[in-house]
């Protein structure tokens, strides 16, 4: 049975797209068949982060409007054969998405994949509401700072009221993913602690992704961090999160960078 998972946050720049790519790749590495859909029509990024930007022919809008077939818009990842991408259109805007079209696309994908990951745009408007509309589960991406947490609270309220599941009286299962977490700064009180965030959002924690240069580096080379540097701290945190998504119980830890002596020497020289 396919699961539709929306990756959302309300606020922009907290790591939705990075997390969608990382979780998608990690799920695929775990043997699941996965499709990631970019709902950020007009500001598409997922194709870049996945390194598929040079192979985009058709996009989500083409499929929603019936111009292209679903199979024409699906782009297979070069590294993982069970990871697929449906890109967003860069030339259109969110009004080109229709509720009925999105429903049809998601229903078609349900029979073909184990996981359907919807990368939501920022905001609470049409793009974001349609990305979450047919979700079974949601990953709420939050940075440890007050504005991000408050926006996440708003999004959780919408997940509980605006989704198709909520309208049927069911519940969208929600998971909280804290990204860009810096344990040292949190302990100095410079950012919200995990306890503070959980207390405010009252939503189960899926994972804590530490702040790391590896994430930016992976994005820039167009490769999900979980593929690019499998042993890095953020990569291991995403892998743990995926195991929790698949129902395993994994103790919650904040992975730290493993710095060997050689590594430190090299870094110092480079600096």
């Amino acid at each position: 049975m396919a699961k539709v998972l929306v990756v959302t946050s309300g606020k922009g720049g907290v790591g939705k797209t990075t997390s969608t790519a990382a979780l998608g790749a990690a799920l695929a590495q775990a043997g699941q068949s996965v499709v990631v859909i970019d709902f950020d029509v007009g500001l598409r990024n997922l194709d870049l982060v996945m390194g598929a930007e040079r192979r985009v022919v058709f996009d989500l809008i083409n499929v929603v409007q019936g111009v292209a077939k679903l199979s024409q818009a699906l782009i297979r990842d070069k590294r993982l054969e069970n990871l697929w991408l449906i890109p967003a259109s860069q030339t259109r805007d969110k009004d080109a998405l229709t509720d009925e079209g999105v429903r049809r696309v998601i229903n078609d994908l349900r029979s073909k994949f184990d996981w359907i990951l919807c990368d939501s745009p920022a905001g609470i408007e049409r793009g974001a509401t349609l990305a979450m509309r047919y979700a079974d589960e949601a990953v709420i991406v939050t940075n440890p700072e007050v504005s991000s947490v408050r926006d996440s609270d708003r999004i959780i309220g919408m997940l509980d009221s605006k989704t198709a599941k909520a309208e049927r009286g069911e519940r969208v299962e929600k998971h909280l993913l804290v990204t860009r977490y810096d344990a040292a700064r949190a302990s100095r009180g410079e950012m919200l602690s995990i306890d503070d965030i959980l207390e405010i959002l009252a939503t189960p924690l899926l994972g804590i992704i530490p702040e790391s240069q590896d994430v930016l580096r992976a994005s820039n080379v167009g490769c999900p961090v979980t593929l690019n540097s499998t042993n890095s701290a953020p990569s291991r945190a995403y892998m743990d999160a995926v195991r929790r998504l698949m129902g395993e119980s994994v103790p919650m830890t904040v992975p730290v960078e493993r710095k060997g002596l050689m590594n430190r020497l090299l870094r110092r020289r480079a600096a």
């Binding site: 408050r150 926006d151 609270d153 708003r154 309220g157 509980d160 405010i200």
Partner: protein
Amino acid sequence: MDAPVQSTRQLVRMRGRSYVAFVFTPVVPIMDWLGEIDTTLARSPGFFVGKPVVLDLSALDLSQSAVSHLVANLEQRNIRVLGIEGVSPEHLTKSLPPLLTGGRPCGLPQSEPQKPQPKPAKPKATSLLLDQPVRSGQSIVFAEGDVTVLGSVGSGAEIVAGGSIHIYGTLRGRAMAGINGNSSARIFCQRIEAELLAIDGYYQTAEDIGESLRSRPAQAWLEDDALKITALN
């Protein structure tokens, strides 16, 4: 194909039936009496529509033309006369309604259609219970009474109640109690980090709320047109 044509004699069946009619008893002067009818019609224009009307002229001594005149006057007012009582037959022409006899007085039927009995309405809820946290951007408005929230009220959320507000989690948003002028309404919360508290229009923003109260269980109420907030422990 000659079907035997059977001529059946149509039977004329007679049945008796009685109706209740309005009986008008005009009095002199007739013009004043017609004025009375006009006032009734002005109050409710459809009062006589579809109702059988009988004229009882026994108290009067009217000529044939006077009877015709009266009936015509009533017809102008859309009152059609079914029959006339209490005149001698020679006073009536063929164009006038027929003479009626043997009428018996009875109570008038209910003229108004029976109003459907109002169903015994469910007593309106006077309190609202929310067992989920109230999220940022949500607005809960319940003017009928108290609101109880089992979870927290997020920053940017608001609770508006006609009565008191009880929050068993942290209040980070706005709480407005007693909105319909209920100055005895109160606000209770397990932990106060509110953006705004208001009772019956008197309010305090986060800045006015004493720093010493922050993060403590608290209640707010009105005393001499001033909003008071104290810790509960």
